[in-house]
Symmetry: C2
Subunit: 179 residues, 2 copies
DNA sequence: CGCGCGATTGAGTAATTTCAAATCTAGTGG
DNA sequence: CCACTAGATTTGAAATTACTCAATCGCGCG
């Protein structure tokens, strides 16, 4: 946060007091489809996936969340609809938990806090635009290369079948791409 | 804006004074790839597309912008990189123009203004998440039905070939879908 | 009347999926 | 340390889907 909005130690401490630390084991599921969602998470350590399964049990991954990323079912969080996504830990994970109520409280109290979240959402928005364009323009092969170029470490941490579920191809197709 | 953050007349007038009205004819292009982008636009009347062309002249549409929508090349606007997208008017169009400098000024001055933009970006973010999931999970046919259900009027205003460029299929394939 | 744009149709081709089987690998218990 | 197993990856072959390229159709407008 400090990189983006320059907080005093006091402000930082006050903000930090609204976060709770929670630890999860690999395979833990922190959000099930249908859940009421009231919090979002900052990833201190570990790796998560946000995904859904279709009727045939095929999985589609909306997002991986590595260290310093934020994760939640944002539609459920903001619209108060039940969660669509499942969020699962792919490794042992340490999260900071922020409730939507505290987020709104801090946004109202601290202008810089709201600015920070606004910047974070904007950058997420822009990244999703890029993902949409990649899905429209690029074939599986170049989407793979693009993802690898951007997050090389991801490929050492998750099975290829999950990469495929993120890129929108089957694991067999991914396996056949000449990398 | 009033629906989301409740402004006084005075606040509204002050905010409005930072917008300029501009009119464009059908086929006008308000942003070319490579342009420096310093403004975003609110659509009062008309319809625009945000798109790119690949090396073979095939077009891909990131976004349609109808009345009450906002449009810009947001990556270019926020990162100060040259524009990737072209933004063109599909009808005679009336826009309100807001510069990024004025947006930042108003955000700093008026908390409610920043909150409004934050909400707007969040809802754009969530809509893009839905679009990504639709591209991953659904075939062209159900993406078509979904788009039609959400924006039926769009189909009376733009040629089907542009709908195809938005959905990520060729116009021939779209034409063959049993609607 | 004919032009031009958009939409449709047809045929062949390329890419991806499905289903099945084989192979590889890491972690576990003996 | 080794054998075993479950999960992950690769490979094969057939079927499906969407694409490309080309031709045709339909219609509004000058």
């Amino acid at each position: 946060m400090n990189e983006m909005v320059e907080l005093t130690d006091e402000e930082f401490g006050y903000i930090a007091s609204h976060f709770k630390v929670r630890k999860f084991r690999k395979h833990a599921i922190i959000c099930h489809p249908g859940d009421l969602v009231t919090t979002e998470y900052f990833v201190v350590k570990g790796l998560l996936k946000t995904s859904v399964m279709d009727d045939h049990g095929k999985e589609y991954i909306l997002q991986f969340a590595m260290e310093n990323w934020w994760v939640s079912d944002y539609n459920a969080l903001h619209s108060h609809e039940p969660a669509e996504f499942s969020i699962a830990c792919l490794e042992d994970t340490v999260l900071l938990v922020l409730s939507i109520a505290d987020r709104q409280k801090l946004s109202a109290e601290l202008h810089k806090f709201e600015t920070f979240f606004s910047l974070k959402t904007t950058s997420g928005f822009i990244n999703l635009q890029k993902r949409v364009m990649a899905l429209l323009k690029n074939d599986a092969h170049s989407r793979y290369k693009q993802l690898f170029a951007q997050y090389p470490t991801l490929f050492q941490r998750v099975p290829k079948s999950l990469i495929a579920a993120y890129l929108g191809v089957t694991r067999e197709t991914l396996s056949r791409l000449s990398l």
